[in-house]
């Protein structure tokens, strides 16, 4: 496969590993990735075992996992309303709320449709004029422009029965919150490849400028990840922190201006609650005033008495990089991919699912 096989080349990978191993800092260097696809790629490649001087930890990079129990509970509440269809990406179906899940609600008769794209949800709205179709809008900057495009289409088509629950998250504010919180030691960030396709490299500049730490935006093949690690090790060695882009075949410094324009035409930053990380200012997205009629919360009372994470589940600490999946008492004992208890095991991009499958 073009642009895949070349970046899985074992000779280049081995040479990169050798070069990385030559850096010696008299301590383990700890890099965090904040992208579910990187989590899976790192586990799958087995590179952790080949790099004894580097500690690779996962951060809040799985969009399903970072969605708070409160937002899941609100969504479940919505599916219990009359004449309502919830459209969602498939990953959200099995995520547990405080006492139920969408999967459970479906078995009780809730109308929930799994879609592949936001435009599929528009089609459902067009086909069901007598019902309100609500799209569960989760995801990072890679996904939110696709939702913005759907809102603009809905406006163009005059679709009155389409709306969204905007639970989007923005990645750079979460990275900043982790650095500010100082709970977890981080020596550098592997920045997410496809979030960066949209936002480019500038939003990460605070990492070298304010925190004097390295960062590298990379792709998902072993050579991509090793290249990023090599660059960050060199940055540390030479004391010149920067945001580098080994994934330049897909990521431009300016990102995708068309997608950014659509995104911020429709949305503006707002406070958001993350699983594990709590409430972070300007880390979510809300609809701008012009698009208020597409905000599902205008039509439904989604107040939830009390929300709680699954008892014993360590997803919150795992998403902050404070614990590894194997340090959760439920991991691989009662919590596994066929009967997941926490979201990090539900999502195929979650750290626990990746650790279970490849760890």
């Amino acid at each position: 496969m073009k642009y895949v096989d070349e970046f899985r080349d074992a000779t280049i990978a081995q040479k990169l590993i050798n070069r990385i191993q030559r850096f010696k800092f008299n301590r383990k260097v700890r890099f965090m990735e904040v992208c579910g696809s990187h989590t899976v790629a790192i586990y799958k490649s087995g590179m952790r075992n080949l790099l004894p001087d580097i500690d690779l930890i996962s951060g809040p990079g799985c969009p399903v996992c970072v969605t708070s129990a409160l937002d899941i509970d609100r969504t479940i509440q919505l599916t219990r309303m009359p004449d309502t269809i919830l459209a969602t990406f498939g990953d959200m179906i099995r995520v547990p709320g405080s006492s139920s899940s969408l999967q459970n609600e479906i078995s009780q008769g809730a109308e929930v449709k799994v879609v592949y794209s936001s435009y599929d949800a528009l089609k459902i709205a067009e086909d069901n004029p007598g019902k309100r179709v609500v799209f569960l809008a989760v995801g990072f900057e890679t996904t939110s422009p696709t939702i913005a495009a759907a809102i603009l289409q809905a406006e163009k088509k005059g679709l009155e029965n389409f709306s969204i629950l905007s639970y989007h998250k923005l990645i750079p504010p979460a990275m900043k919150a982790l650095l500010t919180g100082e709970q977890v030691h981080i020596d550098g960030f592997i920045c997410p490849g496809h979030v960066s396709v949209i936002i480019g490299s500038k939003p990460y500049e605070f990492i070298p400028q304010q925190y004097h730490l390295p960062a590298a935006i990379t792709g998902f093949e072993p050579v991509d990840i090793l290249h990023a690690l090599f660059m960050m090790m060199a940055q540390i060695k030479e004391n010149r922190p920067a945001v580098e882009i080994p994934y330049s075949r897909a990521v431009k410094p300016e990102g995708n201006p068309m997608a950014i324009q659509r995104l911020y035409e429709v949305f503006e930053p707002s406070e958001a609650k993350w699983r594990g990380l709590g409430v972070i200012a300007d880390s979510g997205l809300k609809l701008r005033r012009r698009f208020q009629k597409y905000d599902a919360t205008q039509y439904y009372d989604l107040s939830v008495a009390e929300s709680s994470d699954p008892p014993g589940c360590e997803c919150g600490s795992i998403l902050k990089g404070l614990k590894k999946p194997s340090e959760c008492p439920l991991f691989a004992s009662v919590c596994n991919p066929s009967r997941p208890i926490g979201p990090c095991m539900v999502s195929s991009e979650g750290s626990c699912a990746a650790a279970y499958k490849y760890g």
Binding site: M1, K2, Y3, V4, E6, F7, I12, K15, L16, R19, G36, S37, A41, P63, F89, D91, Y116, S117, S118, Y119, D120, G139, T142, T143, P145, T146, A149, G193, H194, V197, I198, G219, F220, V223, H227, P246, S248, R249, A250, V251, N256, P257, M258, A259, R262, E349
Partner: protein, 73 residues
Amino acid sequence: MCIGVPCQIVRIHDQMATIEIGGTQREVCLDLLIDESETRVGDFVIIHAGFAIQRINAQEAEETLQLLKEMME
């Protein structure tokens, strides 16, 4: 949600493209590509949730590989 590997465009029609991945074909929307009018059959694109979000820059890919090979010599 995210397809990590680039997909090749086999057909373009209106604002949509048919892409091929692992022998199967899918329809994706080109609305988020700034230079969608320059997008051609045969191009490789990054796909996310039914949208093409970027075209792969063949020259950059080549340069990265070249750099890696030179660096490792």
